[in-house]
C-alpha cells in the first residue's frame, strides 16, 4: 500500500554517505597492509590486495551512484543538494587516490620501495590513515548535528574538521621530507620518478580528506 503521506519521506542520502565513508576506511586499511607487504620484501599477496581494493572501490561506486540516482528533483535535504554531492565527490576522491597509489606501485612492484625510504613511507602511510579514519567519524557526528541542531554538537564537528586539517598538514610535512630524501639518496632516474609520484599520490589522499572536511564545514555552517 502506498500512502501519499509516506511518499514524501525518501531514504536519507546521509545513510549512503556514511556507508561510503566506511568503504573508504576499509579501503585504507587494505592499502596500509599492502604497503607493509611491499616493504616486507617477498610480497606474494600484493595482487590480492589490489583486487580487494578494486572490489571495495566498485562497491563504493555503487553507493555513490545510488545516492546520486535516488534524489529526485524537488527533494529537500537538511543541507544543499549540491553541497552534498561536492562532499561525496571529495570523499570518493580519497578512495580513488588510494586505488591509484596501489596501481602506481604495482607498475614497478618488483623494485618495491628502497630500504632507506621504508621507514619514511610507513610513516607517511600512517599519517594519511588518521584523516581517513576521522572522516567516517565526522560523517556520523555531522548526522547527529543535523538531527539535534545542538551547538555543542556543531562545535564537535568543527573540531573534527580542524583535526583533519592538522593531520593533512602533518602528512604534508612528511611528504616534503620524503621527496627531499628521494632526490638526495636515489640515483636511478626511473626510480626517482616512480617514488616521487608515489609520494604525491599518497599525500593527495590526505589532501582530499581535508577537502572533504572543508565541504563538511560549509554544510554545518549556520
Amino acid at each position: 500500500m502506498r500512502i501519499p503521506f509516506l511518499s514524501m519521506f525518501i531514504t536519507s542520502p546521509f545513510e549512503g554517505i556514511q556507508e561510503h565513508a566506511e568503504k573508504v576506511k576499509e579501503c585504507a586499511w587494505v592499502f596500509q597492509r599492502a604497503i607493509e607487504c611491499i616493504i616486507e620484501e617477498k610480497c606474494e599477496d600484493f595482487e590480492h590486495f589490489r583486487k580487494d581494493i578494486d572490489k571495495i572501490e566498485d562497491e563504493a561506486d555503487a553507493i555513490k551512484r545510488r545516492i546520486r540516482g535516488h534524489l529526485p528533483k524537488g527533494t529537500l535535504l537538511a543541507v544543499d543538494k549540491f553541497q552534498l554531492f561536492r562532499y561525496l565527490r571529495e570523499q570518493d576522491k580519497v578512495l580513488d587516490a588510494v586505488e591509484e597509489g596501489l596501481d602506481w606501485l604495482s607498475f614497478r612492484s618488483a623494485a618495491g620501495i628502497p630500504e632507506v625510504l621504508e621507514k619514511d613511507f610507513m610513516l607517511l602511510v600512517e599519517a594519511v590513515m588518521d584523516p581517513i579514519e576521522e572522516l567516517s567519524k565526522m560523517v556520523s557526528e555531522a548526522r547527529k548535528y543535523f538531527s539535534n541542531f545542538s551547538e555543542p554538537q556543531r562545535r564537535l564537528v568543527k573540531n573534527m574538521i580542524h583535526t583533519l586539517r592538522q593531520h593533512e598538514h602533518e602528512a604534508d610535512k612528511l611528504e616534503d621530507n620524503i621527496k627531499e630524501k628521494i632526490f638526495n639518496t636515489i640515483d636511478d632516474p626511473v626510480a626517482v620518478f616512480h617514488l616521487i609520484r608515489l609520494t604525491e599520490i599518497i599525500g593527495s589522499i590526505a589532501d582530499h580528506a581535508e577537502n572533504a572536511g572543508d565541504m563538511m564545514r560549509s554544510m554545518v555552517a549556520k
Partner: protein
Amino acid sequence: MTSEFYVLIIGYIFGFYMAWNIGANDVANSMASAVGAKAITIRQAIFIAGILNIVGATFIGTHVTNTIRKGIVSTEILADPHLALIGALSALLASALWVSFATWRSLPVSTTHSIVGAMIGFGIVAGGFSVINWGKLAAVVMSWVISPVFSLVIGFTMFKTITKLILSKKDPFTWSMKLSPFFIGTAFFVIVLSFLFKTPLGKKLAVGTAMALYIALLLSIGLGFLGMKMLRRYIRKSESSGEEDIFRRIQIGTSCYVALAQGANDVANAIGPLAVIYFLVKTGEVGERVPVPVFLLLFGGIGIACGIAMAGHRVMDTIGRKITTLTNTRGFSVDFAAATTVLVASKLGLPVSTTHAAVGGVMGVGIARGLEAVNFRIIFQIIVYWILTVPAAAITSIIIFKILQLFL
C-alpha cells in the same frame, strides 16, 4: 412513506460507507508522524484515533456540515424534495466510490474534495450550471491552496522556534522542560477555542468572543503548567533521556489533537448529505439551514472509527517501517501544524483536507531543514489529483443520479 424509509436506510448505509472510507483513507494523516517518531505504538494509535475521531466528530463537527451542503450548490435544487433526496444519495455514493477507488489505487485524494465534487455533479444535473455558486467554489478551491500553505508556515515556524529556543541551547533538556507549558498550552488554546465557538456545547455556554478568548487563555495556561508538572513527574533527567523524550510525551498529546481535529473536520463529508436525506425523510423538506442532530455526527464518528480500526493496522505498519528519520520534535511540529490548520479552517467553515494539512506540515519542517530528505514533488502529484478529484466525483455523481432516477 415506506419507500422513503428505505431511502433513509440506504442513506445510512452509504453514509457509513463514506465515513468508513474516510477513516481508512485519512488515518495516516493524523497518526503517521506519531507512529513514525515512535511516540506511540500502532495499537495505541488506532485506539486514540478511533476514540478521538468520534469525540471530535460529535462535539466539534457541526459547523462545516452546513457549508459543504449549501454553500457551493444553491438551495434552489433542494426545493424539490424528491430530486434532493436522489441527489444527496448519489453524491454520497459517488464520493465514497471515488475515495474507495483512490484508496485502492493509492492516489493522494482528499475525502473533502470528493464530496465537494459529488455535490457539484448533483447540482449540475439537477439544476444546470447556474445553480453552482462559482464564487463560493473559488473560495473553496482557494482554501485547498491555503491550507497546505498555512500548515507549512505553522510547521516551519514551530520547528524553527524549537531549534532556536531548545535544540541549539547548551542544555536542551532543561529548556524543553521549561518551555513545555508554552507548547502544550498553545495546542490547548486552539482546542478550547474550537470547543467554545459554534459547537452545540459552546452555544449552550453562550460566551462572547472576548470572554471565550479569556477562558481559552486561562485554561491553556493552566493545562500547560499541569502538563509540565506531569512531564516532570514522569521523566527524570538522565544520560539517556533528552529533549526528544519530552517531546515524545508531548507528541502523544498532539496526535490526539490531530485526531480530534480530523474527526471534527471530516465527519461533515459523510454526514452532510446524510443530514439532508434525514431531514427530507423526516420533514419532507429542507430549510435554509439544517441543524445536524448530534446522533448523526456520532454515527459518522463511529463510521470513521470503524474504518480506522479495520484498515489502520496495515497503514500504520507501513508508516512505522518507512518513516524512520522523523524525530519527536519534528513529529510534534508536523502534528501541531496540521491540527491547527484543520481546526482553524473548519471553524471558518472552509472544507480543508487533513491530507493536505499534514503534507503542508511535513514540508514546513523540511524547509526549516529539519528532515534529512523530503520529496517535495508530492505537491505536484497532489495538485493533479485536486484537479482530477472534483470532476471525477462530479461525473460519477451524475451517472449515479441518472441511474437512481430510473428507480426512485
